[in-house]
């Protein structure tokens, strides 16, 4: 039995904020309305809802249940939640659509990253016996990876600064991000280390954000969008959680996921990579075999706006929009999770 053709037909993103005083429901409600309006359908046309968020960030167990208020639970709906980035909720929705039980799904995610010390909250994702009790945080772990890459000659400090410079330049044109600094590559390289060998520009800016995407299958997708972004391949792979046991200078899970998603079958016009650290973008490009002709993160990427649990789904929204507009034909969206690119989800989409 073949797979159903499934496409992204609409997206909505909330402009990034810092120290938002909105609740999750208040963050989500406008963008759920916006994406429904854009696609021209009603709540009751959605066959499946799937949400990505993290209770640790809200500081409330089952906080995602409250978020159902943003979509409305009457008449009864079919919904699910992943304690992860919304990109993984999109994967679940894609599987649900593959079952043939529903034709249209709405995926949404939110993260109030700045309401707590995110570096310490994410520390709780690490091994509870061997790593978490030392409280390293993600910036430190990424710094260890960056030094290994620098010393192996896999990346250079200048390449890392160039990634930051390009991301900040492109992020300025993106209404959903916060504007970064306007330093040259040389100026960036003269900045002090925050966690040696990382500087401030090497680390993503935590923001509060939310976004929503509508997926549809077959004829429904053709009806709902002029140029749907058809999902041609999607794959999720995980490296061992043992930090020392995996290579610090490559990402084998990203390589396998990209291969399985069909990245190498044809050229990629635009790749939206979820890389919270500059050296990780360089690692991902190498791991996935992306060529110089691929336009990397025209949105500015997660470096200039990293709403935890929504930054991956934002990559899908940005990549799909470039297909909608006709500016790209074959695009890649990526999401990572866990320390040091532990998990990688890769999706290839095409316009017709």
């Amino acid at each position: 039995m073949g797979l159903r053709d499934i496409a992204i037909v609409g997206t909505a993103q909330r402009p990034s904020e810092i120290n938002s005083t909105f609740t999750s429901v208040e963050l989500l409600l406008p963008i759920i309305q916006e994406v429904l309006t854009k696609v021209g359908i009603e709540r009751q046309d959605i066959g499946f809802w799937c949400h990505g968020s993290c209770d640790y960030m809200s500081g409330q167990p089952f906080s995602f249940v409250a978020a159902v208020d943003a979509i409305g639970a009457w008449p009864p709906i079919i919904e699910s939640h992943v304690e992860a980035d919304g990109a993984f909720a999109l994967y679940e929705a894609w599987v649900k659509l593959q079952t043939g039980e529903v034709d249209v799904a709405l995926v949404f995610s939110n993260g109030k990253t700045t309401s707590g010390p995110i570096n310490r909250i994410l520390n709780l994702q690490t091994d509870p016996y061997m790593v978490a009790p030392l409280w390293p945080g993600f910036d430190v772990l990424s710094a260890l990876q960056a030094r290994a890459c620098l010393e192996a000659g896999v990346v250079t400090q200048r390449q890392m600064a160039e990634v930051a410079w390009r991301s900040q330049r492109d992020g300025k044109n993106n209404p959903f991000t916060l504007s970064g600094t306007e330093m040259s590559v040389d100026e960036l390289l003269s900045q002090p280390f925050t966690v040696d060998p990382l500087r401030a520009h090497d680390c993503a800016i935590p923001v509060d954000g939310a976004n929503a995407i509508i997926l549809a299958a077959g004829d429904a997708a053709r009806r709902l969008a002029k140029r749907p972004a058809w999902i041609r391949g999607i794959d999720h792979r995980i490296d061992t959680q043992r930090l020392g046991a995996r290579s610090m200078i490559e990402s084998s899970s990203a390589t396998i996921a990209a291969q399985k998603a069909g990245v190498g079958k044809d050229r990629i016009d635009v790749a939206e990579l979820h890389a919270p650290y500059t050296h990780q973008e360089l690692l991902l490009r190498q791991a996935m075999g992306l060529s110089e002709s691929t336009h990397i993160n025209p949105s500015g990427g997660a470096l200039v706006a990293n709403p935890a649990m929504a930054a991956g789904l934002a990559r899908f929204a940005e990549a799909a929009e470039s297909v909608f507009s006709g500016s790209a034909d074959r695009v890649l969206a990526h999401c990572t999770s866990g320390p040091l690119l532990q998990q990688n989800l890769v999706c290839v989409m095409e316009g017709e």
Binding site: Q60, P117, Y129, V131, L134, L144, A148, D196, M248
Partner: protein, 156 residues
Amino acid sequence: MSGTSSHSLKNGVFVAPLEVAFPYKRTVGTLLSRFFTSLQQCRLEGTRGSDGRVYFPPAEFDPLTGAQLDEWVTLPDTGTVTTWAWQAIPEDGQPLAHPFAWALITLDGADVPILHAVDALRSDRIATGTRVKVRWAQERIGGITDIACFDLLGGA
């Protein structure tokens, strides 16, 4: 970093602190029970994986095959830094209260490194390849923090 919680009024919305803790107890399983008991007694023990690599801290299950590992290897208290980062301003709960290095350290006789702190005092005193030695915590509870940190071998 945890000192950010205070009452404030922003755009007419009152923002109140919320601090959540999860102080549970759970069993660590038979393999890690042996490891943590050994640590408490100042013994360093790793496990050997299916490819012959020695893991310290021990892997319960082979990262390559998923098989349960049960071959123990006793290791010395010295090792080598394989990568490092500098914590200029230590945070709550971290191994040292003054500036220190984080490092992946491969113990002599092991193949897979451990994450821990090195009390290097200054960032120019540590590099990849630096030799280090375990400093035991005075009060040991059977946890990874029974290793207080690593010291530079020979004072560097």
